[in-house]
Homo-oligomer: 471 residues x 2
């Protein structure tokens, strides 16, 4: 906090402590921007120093690229490790570029192993080596080993700092050990931990003890008598989505990770799992919308390029649908009402199909839809599609009748509607299941298949029936 101008900072402090809201508030971003604009980097720096590392990370993400670079150069080096650990990947790349490799290495050396790993994993091989050299052993060896685990695996997610005690210790010995370690070699204790792991002489996991259980037991009690032994043990190779599922299912705060030989090698904590949960949701929602997860922080040209591909695929779909219309150009020439009404059938099919698709994609992601209930889900979707298809056949038929005064057109659009909505319900449920079966992410690819089906069937059914029954 700047002591020179407390009066000026008051409103900012207010913004930081916005009632009932825990984000730092837009005023801080604006204030920092104005200070940097005016070249008052010292004041910006003083303000930033009053913030929590996570808020500084947020601030860097909200600033423009230029402001961000100036601020990174100005800010105190001591906060960098914590701030960098909280940054979004794309913004972190930018910060690393500004800092250079030497300063990045210094910051990384001060991080917990899991955070350091996150940063290093994104660098190219040359840079990885340089940064790793700056990290003292044994951390360097641990990180190098962790890099050998597959991406998105438990091995990448875990941290190596943890507390493990032998089975024959008592509660008292464990607490004494913690106190002694904290005084003599505090670096060997994780900053915060939630469970103590109990291991046999071969470092194989025998059990875990939540700290609250340790604290309520008498000193003479044997660790082995109070430890949790019904464990779900996470192998280093487990997929991070499986890890997140387990944490949710069992309401865990931390869980042990073991290697091939069932030896304890690390611990995964809930804060990292929350990041995984957020990432997964982000991917699902973004992929359904045809964009990539880090779209917001990408440079304009990268965003445009990434979205182009998706749009090009959709152009293919649209041209295909137009080709279907092209088959009926003579019929449209004869009865122009067909051209006027045809988008309605296709559009309603697309919307109904998207509803089903969303439920199916989400249900697969949360494992609420599994093989044993998939048929029931499809059955329900077909029923829903049938009910709403019939209702909208009647409604749309009436609209068409009133509009064009032709019962024939009403019948044609009604039949086409119920057909397309039924097909939409079927496709919306089946496409994600089939993609999942072939190990293709349903969130990424389902939408384009669905639109192709509902457009083609929509135009084909309406124009086909129209030319058959009306001309």
């Amino acid at each position: 906090m700047s002591v020179n101008e407390p009066a000026h900072l008051d409103p900012i402090e207010e913004a930081v402590a916005e009632p009932e809201s825990f984000n730092m508030g837009p005023d801080v971003v604006t204030a920092v921007h104005e200070m940097l604009e005016a070249g008052e980097e010292d004041r910006a720096r003083a303000l930033v120093e009053t913030l929590h590392a996570a808020d500084i990370a947020d601030l860097l993400q909200h600033l423009s690229v230029e402001d961000r670079r100036v601020l990174v150069r100005a800010v105190d080096r001591a906060v960098l490790p914590d701030v960098m650990a909280e940054l979004d990947e794309t913004v972190r790349d930018d910060v690393i570029e500004v800092l250079g490799l030497a300063e990045t290495a210094a910051a990384v050396a001060d991080m917990a192993t899991d955070d350091a790993l996150n940063v290093i994993a994104e660098l190219d091989t040359e840079d990885q080596k340089l940064v790793l050299e700056a990290i003292p052993d044994p951390d360097r060896a641990l990180i190098e080993q962790a890099l050998t685990y597959p991406e998105y695996s438990a091995g990448r997610l875990m941290q190596r700092e943890m507390v493990a005690v032998p089975t024959f210790w008592t509660v008292g010995e464990t607490i004494d050990h913690l106190r002694a370690t904290a005084e003599e070699t505090p670096d060997r204790l994780p900053e915060d931990f939630f469970d103590i792991f109990v291991v046999d002489p071969g470092y194989r996991l025998a059990g875990t003890i939540p700290l609250s259980r340790l604290l309520r037991s008498r000193r003479a009690v044997l660790i082995a008598d109070i430890m949790e032994t019904e464990l779900k043990v996470i192998p280093t190779t487990a997929d991070q989505e499986e890890v997140a599922f387990l944490f949710r299912q069992r309401d865990l705060t931390s869980a042990p990770v073991v290697d091939d030989g069932e030896r304890l090698v690390g611990v995964i904590t809930i804060d990292d799992v929350v990041d995984v949960i957020d990432e997964e949701h982000e991917d699902d929602i973004m992929h359904l919308g045809g964009v990539s997860g880090d779209d917001l922080y990408r440079a304009t040209i990268d965003t445009a390029r990434a979205r182009f591909t998706w749009l090009l695929i959709n152009l293919g779909t649209a041209v295909l649908a137009s080709a279907v219309i092209g088959l009926f150009d003579r019929e449209i020439d004869e009865l122009v009402a067909l051209a006027v009404l045809m988008p309605i059938v296709a559009s309603m099919g697309g919307n109904a199909g998207t509803q089903t698709l969303t439920v199916a994609v989400r249900g697969l992601a949360t494992k609420e839809i599994v093989p044993s209930n998939a048929l029931r889900v499809i059955g329900k979707e077909l029923l829903v599609a049938g009910i709403n298809g019939a209702l909208f056949a009647v409604i749309t038929g009436l609209v068409a009748w009133l509009w064009f005064g032709s019962a024939g057109i009403a019948v044609v659009i009604g039949i086409a509607m119920v057909l397309n909505m039924f097909v939409a319900g079927l496709s919306g449920a089946v496409i994600p299941l089939v993609l999942q079966r072939f190990k293709i992410d349903p969130a990424v690819a389902s939408g384009v298949f669905l639109t192709t089906v509902t457009d083609v069937v929509g135009f084909l059914a309406f124009l086909g029936l129209g030319s058959w029954l009306l001309l």
Copy 2:
């Protein structure tokens, strides 16, 4: 575990312990279904008793309504409190119906206050009274008070069981207190806890201590000397989304909740926050797809009804778009190529707009888009829309030229394309921001506004330009 038929249960046990996967596996659901089908409720019950409460809840959700009801009647009453706490709302309603109020009340009485509150809050007023009567004081009073907090507030989310100690205690006194309480009145300790709260004589919060910090300090150390005093304190009225934001931002495992008088009244733990995060994501993704959050577990007729409304609104949009086409029926009659190509422009606008919309809705939900960077986001989206609009104008123009051999049509579709994609980018960014401003959930309403704009502008631009330049 059934001791009579261990051989038969082997494959099931295998399914439960599916390697690298922590969900119980579809075989369990199938096995239970077959047992219930064959009337072997005892065997089903024996199998279910080997499962974790969270897995039993999953199982109930995966079973058909009929199987679920039979199983609920058969299952051991002792597991019901834990199972019910994990159930999805719609399925829980069904289970409560099967159990009846008396059994529901008995189960609720055994839950932690936050879980009990969840169940009770969903009952109607009459049933609430009956269930509350079954719960002994002081829990009943606490739950009744919690019901006075607004839905989705911190007051509803917190549990009342916690550990609070006075500022003048030492580490040793605190640990002795925990041990004594565990032995004499274990019910007064939460089953699991992560922080100890330090309060003054008026029960106002002075600080918090993570258990790991308590454990590494000597007995003589004063609580006041090691407690965390830079606290973000959560008022009972705080929105649960704000709470989730704070937990993520600070990597918290638990946080204190205070009342108007700043007195400590409860604690929110990370497992409940993970549920909130999941719920929010679920709502966002489902609303973008035009369905409600609990769609999967609703009865067919309820699902159909809920989706009908959304489809009806979309029908309005589609009819509006058709009306725009209707304005040009004579032009289409003259040049049928217009009818064939017109869906391409509308569809590409819709897709490009959805990309922008998804990024904006998601950015608003995660607070990555705030007033201070909103203009920058809109600017970027317009640039991206301009770049891709220009590219697709050329591509689509070429396609149209090759198809219909007319340079005029190529020019018309090219101009219409760049126009509509630009409008799509603008609308996709601005619509969610405006809705948010008016306190309307952008995830729910943005899509329908966007489609209306991109359809109307798409058809109007293409057909208008076509009739102006080509006829």
